[in-house]
């Protein structure tokens, strides 16, 4: 299965509807954009959300299409705003998070990673309400705004001392590491 990049979660567009019945031979078709590790789990997520919105479930519905969505310009940096609804140990909360990344998939993967590390919230408990590419002027978080500087310049204060390949690693070294960058 060809997927975009080495991401853990991919964006899928899932299109489905209730089975046509004699009462309603042309049911409304719904389309959802979901994040899932693969197309199979994307379809499952689709039914999960659609069940909450309409009176339809997998047993009496049909999926019309599942397509992976790819980034239009995966080599330009963008600011992504993501609106999330998540379940914590005590209840449901809404959150708005901003990420700087090349692709929406990359930003969403960062989101899942950050939610897990900062709030101990895992994938099943996160619902992505909305995502958007935010122009630099509309960004809210200082952490993303600090990179909106065309003359950005900072030193790397610490030198990473490591062998250029894991095979070259040795247990003992002749000298203590020098971490100074200047």
């Amino acid at each position: 299965m060809v997927q975009e990049g080495l991401f853990k979660f991919h964006q899928y567009q899932v299109v489905g509807r209730h089975n046509p019945t004699t009462a309603d031979p042309n049911p409304t078709v719904y389309r959802m954009k979901v994040w899932a590790p693969d197309a199979v789990r994307a379809k499952s997520k689709f039914w999960y959300f659609l069940r909450k919105l309409r009176r339809v479930k997998k047993a009496n519905g049909q999926i019309l299409a599942v397509n992976e969505l790819f980034e239009k310009k995966p080599t330009t940096s963008k600011n992504f705003g993501i609106w999330v609804r998540y379940q914590s140990r005590t209840g449901y909360h809404n959150m708005y998070k901003e990420y700087r990344d090349l692709t929406l998939n990359g930003a969403v993967n960062q989101l899942y990673q950050e939610m897990a590390s900062r709030h101990r919230v895992r994938y099943p408990c996160i619902q992505i309400i909305k995502t958007a590419t935010v122009p630099a002027s509309a960004c809210k978080r200082a952490n993303t705004q600090q990179f909106h500087n065309s003359k950005i310049r900072f030193p790397l204060t610490r030198k990473v001392v490591r062998p250029s390949a894991p095979e070259l690693k040795t247990l003992y070294k002749a000298k203590r590491p020098c971490v100074a960058m200047f």
Partner: protein, 140 residues
Amino acid sequence: MPFKRYMEIGRVAFINFGSEYGQLVVVSDILDQNRALVDAPGQARRVVNFKRLALTDIKIELPRMAAKKVVVAKFAEADVLKKFAASAWGRKVAKQTAQAATTDFDRFKAAVAKAKKARVVRKVLSTLKKSAPKAAPKKK
């Protein structure tokens, strides 16, 4: 002890870890506090972590997220590869890559050449020693 090499747009860096070890890239944009968007002529524009980048002294004038044409032109204009190869760091890297590429036959040839040269030097030294006056041997 102020810093001399800054992470900035246009800074040339050397990738010092991973499958792309040894490549020279220029920073096209800073993505966040850990990652940079890098570019180079002949390579795809991609994200590299700061941990894999070793900053060089070379800095070129580049607009943010410059087009490939611009990057190629600026690289040629500033002669980045030649400047790096002329630097002490560049010469060391060239020596390392040359040594890593030698075959056993090359090493044999080098050993033979070294032995031959040593033989010639020793021969001349021994004739000099014999012809030196015995009455005044100089203690070196």
